[in-house]
């Protein structure tokens, strides 16, 4: 994070809420100066890339940006949607170009390459200048990834009315870089299969809010949709159907699309729990497979966990994870480790016999199992990622301090993880689970609940550093919202996720408003409205946040206003 220096930029003033509307930037740049001049975008607006040997994904990003500039056609969220801006535009200058360049002496890599570096080596900052005198805008960064983030910001500047694409807030001076290196979105493709198109569309939307990690919980006990060359039986018997498999080509498409959109793919193969679907191909490897009552052996149906006492199973799992991990360009790989059910093992004759005859504990066999899988991943150059139970519930000597730990059970749990010295990704269910509030789906349970729907504004109140000491805070790499898919599929993916997942995107990119003012939902709402309407203009089914009457009148529907 040291390769970009913003200290040279003089922040003149901070414009947060303009009388005529809202600033449509999301996440809000860290350093931002705006003015009050109208400025029109030329119909022949050009984006010049002043980068030698420009990588093809940067060229694609420039072309995509031009398409957004032409097609977004977002009317300002005021009554009349811009009809009253005609006077302001009559004398406005026209800007005809944006020039992209890299700082001197930088090595030119593709966006995808930069997006997949270790977190501490990722450089996403940029400087964007949009004058109000009609001269060209400039975008400068240290990396193509930084240029990509700047293009994303540039595309959010503009409104449209009556054939004109314009802003009323020129000039702009933006010096931006993320507060946290990890900004993710999680998706579970095991409870339901999501077609590749749905995933690509999700990656698009992630890129619009500068989310840089797709945490892909690809398998679970319900289904195994992942094709693995060395283990084709897993998908053949474990997928819902032959049509619900991510083929090698599908996976490559997702990886390269993600990379070109500045997104790293953190794949998770959850072990040793949440693995019942492996039993479809390898029934001997799974304890308590489909056992009933499921509630005795798993948090949800069906039950099934890897028999980690059996050496063949340990070898198989290690080899399987290696087979998958070696095809993944990311520096990270998650082995899961959540919700290991002890009863499943203790009631399993094979496991319990081993434990009894060898006088071993579950903790001991989990340590051996994890040592085997993690050693293999480290050997492939991957940093393992695990769920919080692996450090809070189990006492494993096999976990290197390099391991990244993902919280989920509660927003209270980070301190205990930090106490053990691990780096943290914050995904607390009580703020960031997008499936909460969909109600119970267990059959015969008409009165069962499933948490409360977490609104964007509630998620937005989350403080990733709460209750942490300064040294503990340094261990927080970022965080993410996540969609578990018990009741989500392609049909409701977009409205369930968007624009809610923009909440964490801003928490972890911006951390504060410019000038260090704490994030505040009342300030943020009009900007998020703009983002939501722009998402809809881009064809994404993002939910409305208020009645449109309120959307067109910022703050008119605030509480007791």
């Amino acid at each position: 994070m040291a390769r970009f220096n913003v200290s040279g930029l003089l922040v003149l003033f901070v414009a947060l809420v303009l009388p005529s509307g809202a600033l449509a930037l999301w996440p809000i740049p860290r350093n931002l100066t705006t003015g009050t001049s109208a400025l029109k975008l030329d119909t022949n607006f050009t984006i010049s890339v002043n980068v030698s040997d420009s990588p093809s994904d940067l060229v694609d990003a420039v072309n995509q940006t031009k398409q957004y500039l032409e097609n977004d056609r977002l009317g300002r969220l005021v009554v009349g949607r811009g009809a009253n801006d005609t006077a302001a535009l009559s004398g406005a200058k026209t800007i005809s170009g944006l020039t992209l360049s890299l700082e001197e002496n930088t090595t030119v890599n593709s966006i995808a390459y930069e997006a997949r570096l270790k977190l501490e080596d990722r450089v996403e900052g940029y400087r964007l200048t949009i004058p109000n005198d009609g001269s060209d805008a400039t975008l400068v960064a240290n990396t193509t990834l930084g240029l990509y983030r700047g293009l994303t910001t540039f595309s959010q500047i503009w409104y449209w009315y009556g054939g004109e694409t314009y802003t009323l807030e020129a000039p702009f001076e933006i010096a931006d870089l993320p507060a946290y290196p990890y900004r993710g979105l999680g998706l579970d493709t095991s409870r339901h299969y999501f077609p590749v198109d749905s995933i690509l569309r999700t990656l698009d939307a992630m890129s619009w809010v500068k989310i840089n990690t797709f945490h892909w919980h690809v398998t679970d006990s319900q289904s195994w949709p992942l094709y693995v060359v060395e283990y084709p039986d897993l998908a053949q018997y474990g997928a819902y159907s032959a049509q619900q498999v991510y083929s090698e080509q599908d996976i490559q498409n997702i990886l390269s699309y993600a990379g070109a959109h500045g997104i790293d793919v953190l794949l998770e193969i959850d072990t040793p729990g949440h693995s019942g679907s492996i039993g479809s191909a390898y029934p001997d490897y799974i304890a308590c497979m489909y056992e009933t009552p499921w509630s005795s052996y798993a948090g949800e149906p069906p039950a099934g966990q890897l028999r980690m006492t059996v050496p063949e199973v340990v070898n198989f799992t290690t080899s399987l994870l290696s087979s998958v991990a070696k095809t993944m360009p990311s520096s990270y790989f998650s082995t899961g480790g959540d919700e290991i059910n002890s009863a499943c093992y203790l009631d399993d004759p094979i496991t319990s016999t081993y434990l009894n005859t060898t006088n071993t504990t579950l903790n001991g066999v989990l340590d051996t199992f994890t040592n085997s899988t993690h050693s293999a991943l480290v050997g492939l150059g991957k940093t393992p990622v695990v769920w919080e139970e692996m450090v809070l519930e189990w006492n494993l000597t096999s976990l290197s301090n390099e391991t990244i730990v993902m919280t989920w059970i509660s927003s209270q749990d980070a301190a205990a993880i930090a106490d053990k010295g691990f780096r943290i990704v914050q995904a607390p269910s009580n703020y960031f689970y997008l499936d909460e509030g969909q109600g119970s789906w267990v059959g015969g349970d008409p009165f069962g609940g499933s948490g409360t729907f977490i609104t964007w504004q509630y998620a937005y109140t989350y403080d990733p550093l709460a209750n942490l000491t300064e040294s503990q805070q340094a261990l927080v790499l970022g965080g993410q919202q996540i969609l578990w898919a018990e009741q989500s599929a392609a049909q409701n993916l977009e409205p369930t996720v968007w624009p809610r997942a923009a909440a964490s995107a801003e928490i972890f990119w911006s951390a504060t408003q410019p000038g260090g003012i704490p994030l505040n939902g009342t300030e943020a709402l009009p900007r998020l409205q703009d983002l939501r309407y722009r998402m809809v203009q881009r064809g994404l089914n993002a939910i409305p946040l208020q009645p449109e009457w309120c959307s067109l009148r910022p703050h008119a529907c605030d509480q007791y206003s």
Copy 2:
């Protein structure tokens, strides 16, 4: 409801849950006999209409049914999706035709005509026979509307695998008719505008579950999207934009599409509350228009109610409702009447001066106002429909006992309405509000809630006759679920409504399982799964009800199973 007689049908046995899967019928027919024979649908399957001068909407319905039979391609919800049915199908007979006919001596009317009759005159019953010997199926009814319902049932019989369209449950003997004449779905198009295409798609889905009334809450304080020939200023100034108006042609398209799909359109123009948008064109007619703090004058922003003490406003409203009602083919029209805010009137100088100088009460002026609007509607042959406050909160001599009263505040309120002798449509918010659980949308309210998401299985436990005496029960015409659109728009309409709104569709069509067994969510779930998957096959974004692992294994994910 007397024109159809099912007593001649001998119900031999009732098959509710087959070992090999579920029965895909929703709502479940009142009288149903199934067998265990496999039966294939001929690739040249024909539907013959043995009706003289067959109306064009019946011909369209037949063609639509043929398209569903060809395109649904719904795999059975079992592991393998039908791959294991090949053996059963090898010796199966093939059925090549369905013949539709009306009972003798019936007048042939269009489906639309039949769908718009008074509730007591609507005849929706039918008899459907599907032999298992390869001979043609027959569908008989007293009306084209009944034939339409039977076609809907017929299209739900069939599964698909590997090029074969088939059932495993022939023969079928079905004698069906609805338990309640009113089975609705409500949609609010004021908080958000829904494009005509979204409404037509909703009408499609309603027809699939035999919902027969589209309760269109078309206007409210937020916007006035309804074009009215005599009052064009209302939409010109009160709509969100010129593109967010239902034109005369749009309205005709919706009305005729609804009619052809067996659906009556109950239009609601809510008065005298929920009418602030009228003030955009007629500011003098509205009390407390956009007054702040809005929470003092309205349940939600913006405030605004018709100044019902002003004779010009009473005349305007009466003329406006008449202008709209006369273009509506329905026998019913709703004048709303919910949530009248007294403070709005008492703080309004014009209203309070009138009340003080004439020594009149709000109740008195509301009575005069209602008498004027309802008399005009009755003069047009319309039966007025009102919300429950009009009889429970106000004491109006102007309400004829013909008036239909819609509950919403609580499922406990029907008895008090019945005590006053009014007929009832049940739309209790605590069971039937589809927007509950979306969270607070008021700005600056991060911790605000908005009820709990009401799952289909909870809505399905609703008993429309609970706490009513036998004579009170006779006043219940039916009921509906409803979507208020503060946080819903085209982007999330389908996943928010479907398949949840099928819950009330079955409550009010079937009332019980065949044989009088009470409806039961555990029995219903596999059938509703079938319906949801069929909806998806037909292109509707209906939400999944369980992880697909469960969907393919009926009852495996029941509680503690």
